[in-house]
Every structure is written in structure tokens, then in C-alpha cells.
Symmetry: D2
Subunit: 323 residues, 4 copies
């Protein structure tokens, strides 16, 4: 799988899904009840990944729906300042808001999020707002699982995958399971299967694959089942145990984690995906790409935000080299 095979493509990655606002506790190591001030950051898995790969030097675009309000304006200009193309970003005209995530950081082990996801703009992206001509300009389309959680965003995401497949654009699927927007686990399993079967690259935690399969699975069954369909590279993450990558031709790769002083656990998955995909675009081997993912995650969990904290390539390489 050579992600750079389409040399004419304007974008390395177009990410599709939610862009939100994180409100991170300024005073931490305490329950949120005692946090009196919050800092504002861009958040949301696919937005974070677009930010992450842009900071690493890839050319990224973003497809999503944001409101016509101050939070929407902030997200758009923040992403544009990083060089992300926002021409696929649609403004909601129905008064819907961006999702909010208030973070509570009691200790490195006890983090939680208070979500505002009621009728948020991102879930109202319409299939009619997905443009074939835009998707054709990418080498890879990244779909985040939460975009599948509700109609019409669900149909917009599936249509984007259909258009990518028809036009020879690679599809990466980050499972990104967030229970609060789904109706039932069966529903999640149906759509996760549908999109995973059509993706070239699938990335998720073991728990997320279990959700997709509707049972406690094992890694070998998971990859065997996916390789019957379109997938050719599957990454399964095991938290502090590290992660594995499997390829259709039967190779298995493994990586550990980089120890750090953890402030909070948010943002680990998005930084992992950003750096892993970046390394693939740099045509590193898969084992090295796993290290990039792990190192990037390690850097982000030691810092206050998920998006602002996305590292430069040099920081990642320093950490890998230092090991």
C-alpha cells in the first residue's frame, strides 16, 4: 500500500467528522466542581487528527459542519492558521451548536469528560454536502467512527467512503467509539462493520473492535475477518500494553509505549493516529510508524490540551531516538 501513489493529489489527508470545543480545567488535580476556570481549545477526534498531521507537515483538508457562531468561527480560523483547507467545512444554518467537552482532571488515572452533544452541528452534515470533486483531491480519506452515530452525518460519511472507493482514494477508519451518541451497541456494530469492510486501514483499540464484533474477540479473528473484505492494514491498540499492526499478507508488527509523566489521558488516540499516518506518508516501515504513533501519544498525554499539544516531527523523532 503506497499512500503516495496519486502524486497529483492536492491533499495527503482529508478528515471527515466532528470539530468541537474542549474546555480544559485550568485548575486541575481536583474534581470539576472545584475548577472555576476553563481554557478553550479545538477538539474532536478528526479535527485533532487533521491538526496533528498538519503540524507534522502533511497537507490536510477537513469536512464537517460547524455553527455560524463564535465557537464555529474560532474552530475555522484556528484550523486555517495551521494551513488546513476548510473549503469542505459547512456552516449550520439552523442554530445548532458545536459539541463541548469539559475535562475533569482529578489525577492522571482519574480523568473524565462532561460532554455537551445534544443536537450538535457536526451530526447534521448532509450527504448532499459531500462533494466528489473534493474527495478526489485527497490521497486518503479519514473517517472517524462518531460521524456514523446519527443521521444525516452517518449517510454523509458513508457517501464519502463510497466516493473515495469509486475514485481510488484510500480510506482510513479510526473507530473512535463514544457511547453517548449511539442508540444501541447493535447499531454501532452494524455501521462499524459496514465501514471497516470498505476501509484500507482500520485503527482502533481492542475494546472498539469488540464493540464492532458484538463479542469479546481475539486479534486473529478480527484481522482474518477484515482481510476477507477490503482492508489491508489493521492496527489494534492495547493501552499501556502497546499496539499491533497486521497486514493482509500476514505480517504482524508490535510496539510498546513511551513512558512519560501523564497529566491526563485525553488526546492519546488522536495523536497516535496522526503520527502513525504521517509516518506511512513518509514511507517509513510499519514498525517505525507504530513507534511514531506511540511517541506522539506519549507527548500529548503529558500536556494540557489535545490539539494545541500536537507535536512537531522533531519532538517525536527525538523521543524515539532517545529510547
Amino acid at each position: 500500500m503506497n499512500l503516495n501513489k496519486n502524486k497529483e493529489a492536492k491533499f495527503d489527508i482529508i478528515a471527515l467528522g466532528r470539530a468541537c470545543i474542549d474546555l480544559n480545567a485550568v485548575e486541575y488535580n481536583r474534581p470539576m466542581e472545584e475548577t472555576m476556570t476553563f481554557s478553550k481549545y479545538v477538539g474532536g477526534s478528526p479535527a485533532n487528527i487533521a491538526i496533528g498531521v498538519s503540524k507534522l507537515g502533511l497537507k490536510a483538508g477537513f469536512i464537517g459542519k460547524i455553527p455560524e457562531d463564535q465557537h464555529g468561527n474560532f474552530i475555522k480560523s484556528y484550523m486555517e492558521n495551521l494551513g488546513i483547507d476548510t473549503s469542505g467545512m459547512v456552516r449550520d444554518t439552523e442554530g445548532r451548536k458545536v459539541g463541548l467537552a469539559f475535562t475533569e482532571i482529578k489525577s492522571p488515572d482519574e480523568c473524565s469528560i462532561l460532554m455537551y452533544r445534544e443536537n450538535v452541528a457536526d451530526l447534521y452534515l448532509e450527504p448532499s454536502e459531500i462533494s466528489a470533486s473534493y474527495i478526489k483531491q485527497a490521497k486518503l480519506l479519514l473517517i472517524s467512527g462518531t460521524a456514523l452515530a446519527q443521521s444525516p452525518s452517518r449517510e454523509a460519511a458513508i457517501k464519502a467512503v463510497q466516493l473515495a472507493r469509486e475514485n481510488g482514494v484510500f480510506v482510513a477508519f479510526e473507530l473512535d467509539y463514544r457511547p453517548y451518541t449511539w442508540h444501541s451497541e447493535e447499531e454501532t456494530a452494524v455501521y462499524y462493520s459496514l465501514v471497516a469492510e470498505q476501509a484500507d486501514i482500520v485503527i482502533g483499540t481492542r475494546d472498539e473492535y469488540d464493540m464492532m464484533e458484538g463479542k469479546k474477540g481475539d486479534n486473529e479473528q478480527t484481522v482474518e475477518s477484515l482481510f476477507k473484505h477490503h482492508a489491508s492494514l489493521v492496527v489494534i491498540k492495547h493501552g499501556s500494553e502497546g499496539s499491533n499492526a497486521y497486514t493482509k499478507n500476514g505480517q504482524i508488527y508490535q510496539a510498546g509505549i513511551y513512558k512519560t509523566k501523564v497529566l491526563k489521558t485525553f488526546g492519546a488516540g488522536d495523536s497516535y493516529a496522526s503520527a502513525f499516518l504521517y509516518a506511512l506518508f513518509q514511507e517509513k516501515d510499519i514498525e517505525t510508524a507504530l513507534k511514531y504513533g506511540s511517541a506522539s501519544a506519549s507527548i500529548v498525554v503529558s500536556k494540557h490540551s489535545s490539539s494545541d499539544a500536537m507535536p512537531q516531527a522533531s519532538e517525536i523523532e527525538a523521543l524515539i531516538g532517545a529510547k
Copy 2:
């Protein structure tokens, strides 16, 4: 494609989707405003097809959700009296109702339907109510397009297709496009494509394929695109112009229609599908199967109902032979 390859299967066909009540004008050739009495019949495309194939001698089962009320009871016992297995029929416990279709028959050319489809029970079939062990007992699973129109019935139908595919059960997809339950044409296109790509047999009118493709298509493009995926037999109907069948190996078949004294146009599609599938199960050639479909449609449009009027095999064969 030998539909009988699984000789152990308990059912020839399991149909999935809506079972409704038709309220047909007793006094016709007038606007419905002047119709003062209505006759009650079982209706709904997949229910009609299950009834049609049962009357022709196939062994059928039905998966769908019906209310715990008098109309639900009537549907269940009507289908059981014809020998249809209803063990996959689920009772709604939330007070939802069956859909209703009041027919208006002004003249053979001017028929219309007044639909009651608000929050109907059939669209609330849950994916958790779909059983792999039941689907495995069929040779063929028939999905009607309307089951895809809303969640959670949509996920139930997709899950049934996934289970059929995993278990070697053939899938037939009757497009059965009814605009009133869909949110947008783009949404229809997304789900029609998804299921058509996974079906072995696809049956629809030219207009329905246009809906799936989001453009005025031509037959050759349609079949070329479907044959890239799983489909191996595609039927395209052209109303009074007859119908065509296309096979993956490049054969094209054609059939005309059987002239009759038309009372109303309702029920033509369901009777067509029933008799076409019956003929395939009888291992008739495809050209003959198209004739069975056309003859059965011709018989039903000359009668008052869609379900009660489903013909015996001998009636169909008499009409074909008489030509």
C-alpha cells in the same frame, strides 16, 4: 446461481420488512371522498411477496414488527393460515400501529393511495431482534427497500443482509421505493447502493434504479456498476414496456406484459417478484421466470386486492400458455 443449493434449508424465502393493512375502496371508479366503505386486506410489499410465494407453494417465513392490537392479530393469523412461518415476527410493545393504505380507484389510470405511516411499528424492528439462527434456515433472504428508510429498521435489515452473507444465504433486494418514509433522495441513494452491492438478485423499476444512482441512468451502466460487486442477476422493470433481466456472465433477457382488464395498478410489483422468484426456485430458465412475473402481475392488477388476489401457479401457467 442455484437457489436450491442448500437442500437442508427449512425455508425457501424469508421476507423482511413491513406488513400493513390495505383499506381498499369497496365503491370504486370515483374519488375517495365518495367512497363510504373500505375492505381490509393484508398489505406491504414484503408481506405480499411472502403471501405470493406461499400461495405458489414455496415455504416462506416473515421477519417484521407488528403491533399488539387487532390489526396486528389479523395480519399474523392471515399469514399463518397460508402456512407462512411467523416465528420471526416481533410484537411492538410501545403502542405503535400498523401502517395503513387507503386506496383510491378513480379509473384504471388514476389510482392513488392515502398512507398512514407515522411512527408505524414496522420501522421499529431492532437489530437485536434479528436472529442469525433464523436467517440461516433460509435459502434466500428478501429485503424490501422501505425497511431501509428509517432507524432502527434500517439497521435490522442491514444486519440481516450481513448475517445472510456470512452464512451463505442468497439475498434478493426489491427496491420498493416509497418516498414518504425517506428523509432525502441522497439518503435513499446511500442505502440502496449499500444493499444492492451486497445482494445476489436486485429487482426494481428503472425509476428506482435512477433513485439509487442519483441520476437518470441507463440499463447498461446500472448493471455494469452492480456486477462490480456481489450481484449476479439484475431485473429492471419498464412498466407497460415489459422488463429485462441481466446476468453477470453477460446474458440479457426480455419479457413483455400480459394484457388484461386493469382495475388498479397496486400490487403489480409484489406479484411480479413473487412469481419471478418462484420460477427461479422451480429452476425455470430466466426468460421463463420473467414470464411468470409478468403473468402474475397481470392477474393481480385485474383484481381488487394485492394480497388476497395472489394467483395459484396454475393460473399463471394458464395465462402464459394461452399466449
Copy 3:
């Protein structure tokens, strides 16, 4: 209380609320599962009352929302043919339907109704569709309790009452409690109290007053509480035990029922209210008005429909006289 005090008024009664379709079992004395044919009638309490008083010779108007479909057309023309003014009838433009009531008549004691009330047009009457100039033309505004069951019909009904009060139009409130459209009993109690306190005439069964008061009440407490507010005439019905009327000045009247061969119990309340109000407009004394109500109810329960069966004054008077 002289209902005819405004001699200039164009209408005796304007009724506000739902107009529906009754589908009455043609074959009865059996469960609905075995009823294969249904007859179509106009139904819905305030529509029935408008029909009842029109047939008795009063001048009536109707305010309500009906769909732009065949059932809506039928209702409108049926009422117009009886001389009811429909200029206050609004057409729904959102594709909503009229409510349906399938009647099941197992025996005179075992009648039930299968209701279709999901998103029905009548509950979408908007307060902006209520016209002060229309309401001013009535001597009496009749509100049926079901109009209060959901927004925006609820606000339309309350606004109509406010306009009637400001313009010296009498208000009659028929409690007409139908549990299926209400969210909770507390909600019913809140709105029943609000409107009963502003009405001049309140008519209901003992059970309905209990619903309004949120407890098993007694008649004296009920009328004492209502007479603290605007009401001056309260009718409490006790089914086969007859009915009572109470006036603010302390009078109590009582009437029995007229024995008949009961076919079904539907329509008894609407015919009672029609004839009782008619008698008041005829300036009969209250005791006589109660007899009119009872006699009319007795006639309707012996017949097949609720609206078509509404009697002429001569039929009522014959029955009263015969006693």
C-alpha cells in the same frame, strides 16, 4: 345565564378541536380481527357536537385543522352540507393526517376503539390561526378537552378562550378526556383546571372531574371549587345513573337515562352535549335540558354511527314525551 343575550351574533355555537374519521365495523358482534369491512363517518367530539346542534337547527361554526387530502375534503364537505360554517377550518400543509378511530363492537357492553392519533393534523392548530373577529361572531365557544392535549393546539384553544372572555362570548368546556394524547395525568389536571376556571358551562363525567382534580372527588367539592371562579353551570354525568346539573346560585337538577337497545356506547357524550346546549339555546329550563341530553344520547347509542345518527329535535321530543 341567557345564551341568546347577544342577538347580533352570527353563530349560536362555534366548536373548536378535532374532526376525525370513524371507521365503524360493518360486521359487528365480533372481534375486529373478524371485521372485514368498515364504514366511514365524520367523528371527533367537537365535530360531532357541531353536527348534532346543526341537525337540531342551531347555527354552528367549526375551528380546527384538517389535512389537504381526501379524508380532509370529506369532512369539510360533510359539515358544509349540514350548514356548518367552515371558514375557521385550516388546512394542514405539512402532510399530517386526520385521526382515525376503528370501532370494535363485540357486544353492547364490549366496545373498543383502535385509534390512529400519531401526529394528527388537529393537534397542530396554531394560536396564530385563531381569529378574534371570528370568535366574536358566536354566542358560545365550545372547547373540547382533547384540544388541550398537545402544543400548539393547546395554545390555540387557550387563546380562543381568552378571546371569548374578552369579547363577552360564553365558553362551554366539554372535558372529553382521551388518555392516549396526554403525557401525564398531572398535565391533564393543570389544563383542565385552567380552562374549567374560565368557562361558563362545564360538562363532564364524574371520572373526568376526578382527572381534573387529581383525586376521587365528590360532586359538591367539585362544584364549590368551580363556582369560586367563572363557572355558573356545571353538569356531572354518571353513566347509567343519569346526570346532574348545578348552578352557581345553588340549584341542583337531576335526570335519569332513557332505556334503549344499545348497539354501542360511542357517541353518547357528544349527542348529550349537543341536545343539552340546544335546549339551553331554546331557553328551556335546566331540568328539561338534561332530559334533551339524555334522550339524544339514548338515540345515538342505538345506532351505527356517532355523527350521522345525531337526531332531529322531533325524535328527541318524541322520546321525552313518550316517557
Copy 4:
């Protein structure tokens, strides 16, 4: 009107309605896009009024619904720390959130609020959660108009007013019009009229009374119309022009405003109502009560928050005395 007539009452004021979170710009005099930090305060008109009167020394209770989350906990403990009784506060068990108000302070003249009010807990207070025995313990029940904007909070508020009236508890109605939760202006007019007619004290801006009356009104018509019903004291506020109070016996009082260095305009109405009601409980004359209201508003608009900034009586009196 002697607010202290019930000397046994446990609470001076019970306020009913929303308690929310204000997120106030830490960096101000700029558009919100450039504000990167927000401070958290309790907000919502009736919560602010309960806080305001408590800080002035009255005994207050609060009826409302808050979530079982960190923001809900913060609101509850903040109010309890000020001595407010929260035994009438109900916890939402359906995962609903508190409303949020992000403030944008561009300049003293250009303030705006970005509201999160989608499916907020406060609008789900149920009438069954309103207790007669609790309301009986108050001298005065304060209803904020926003509680009337949606069911079931609407019915809960109306039921509370009914119970207050039945039990001799005074009712104050603060119109508090916020367009974002209402369906239509006609709907607002219906419920504002209903509650204003049952209140003893009505407080609002001229614009809010116009909303209630559905037209540009004048003060004299407004009070004449209200005094036909239950009201005996009506306050009409005119922004920088000051405010007027009208009594049923025909007196008119007037007050100006106290000049200050305005930071933002939020919170002016709540602080006004708190101090005005406090002065009435102190049995000040109405003219003095208006001064208390104006002085308190002046203090709050010069400070960063709406709730935390509520003044002590001594601050108000110093400002009045200084004039």
C-alpha cells in the same frame, strides 16, 4: 399588600425555574473568538434572584431540576453555601445537562450571549415534582417566564401558581423573556397572559409586556388590563430611562437609574428584582423599593458576574444615600 402577612412561613421567597452555568469571558473587550479562558458562575434568572435575596438577608428556597453531574453539584452546593434551601431541587436522571451561557463582552454596549439550551434539565421539571406542602411554606412564589417556555416545566410552573393561589401564597411573575426557548410569539403571549393574570406582582420591561400583549402597548393599557384580574402591583422597566410601578389603587411611582462604569449589561434584571422584592419584604414604600432595585442593578452591571456580584444591603443603601 403586606408580603409578611403569613408570619409562620418558613421562607420569604421560593423561586422556581432554571439554574444554569454562566461561562464569563476572562479576557474581555474583545470578540469571544479571542477569549481563551472562561470563569464559571451560577446563572439563570430565578437562581440569580434566589441568590440576590439571600445575600440581602431573606430566607429563600429554590425549585428546579438540575443534572446529576459536576455542574449540577456545583450549583447545588453554591446555593446551599448561601443558605438557600434546595430541598425542592430535583435531580435529572435522564442525562440532561444544565444550560450554559458563554458571555461575550466586546464593550459595555456590545455584549452578547452564546446559549446552550438544547434539552436542558430545567425544562424537564415535572408537575408531579411540585409539592403543595413545600409551596405553602413560602410568603411569596417567584416564577420566571422562561419556566413557561416548554412542557413539562410549563405545567410544573402553572401548577405551582395554582397551588400558591389556593394556599394564600403571593405570586410574583418576572417576565424574563428569552426568545430561544419559545416556539412562537403567540405561544409566549398565551402563557404570559395566563400567569400574569394570576400573579400579585408582575415585573418586566416594556418590550416584555409588548410580547405578552402581542402589540406595541402603552403602560396605561397594560396595567388597566392586568388590574382587571388578580394583579395588584405592576413594575414596568424602561432601561436607561428608569422604571415605573403601578398599584391597583391607582398610584404611580417612578425611579431613575444610578450611573456607574458599566462592564456588561447581564444580570441587571435579576439584581433589580432581588433588591426590589427585598425592600418590599422590609416594608419599605414602593418608591424606595424601586430605588433599591435600580441601585442593585447599577452595582451588578459594573462587575464581572451576575450571581457572585449580587450586593449586600449596605452597598445598596450606600449608593442610594450617596445620591
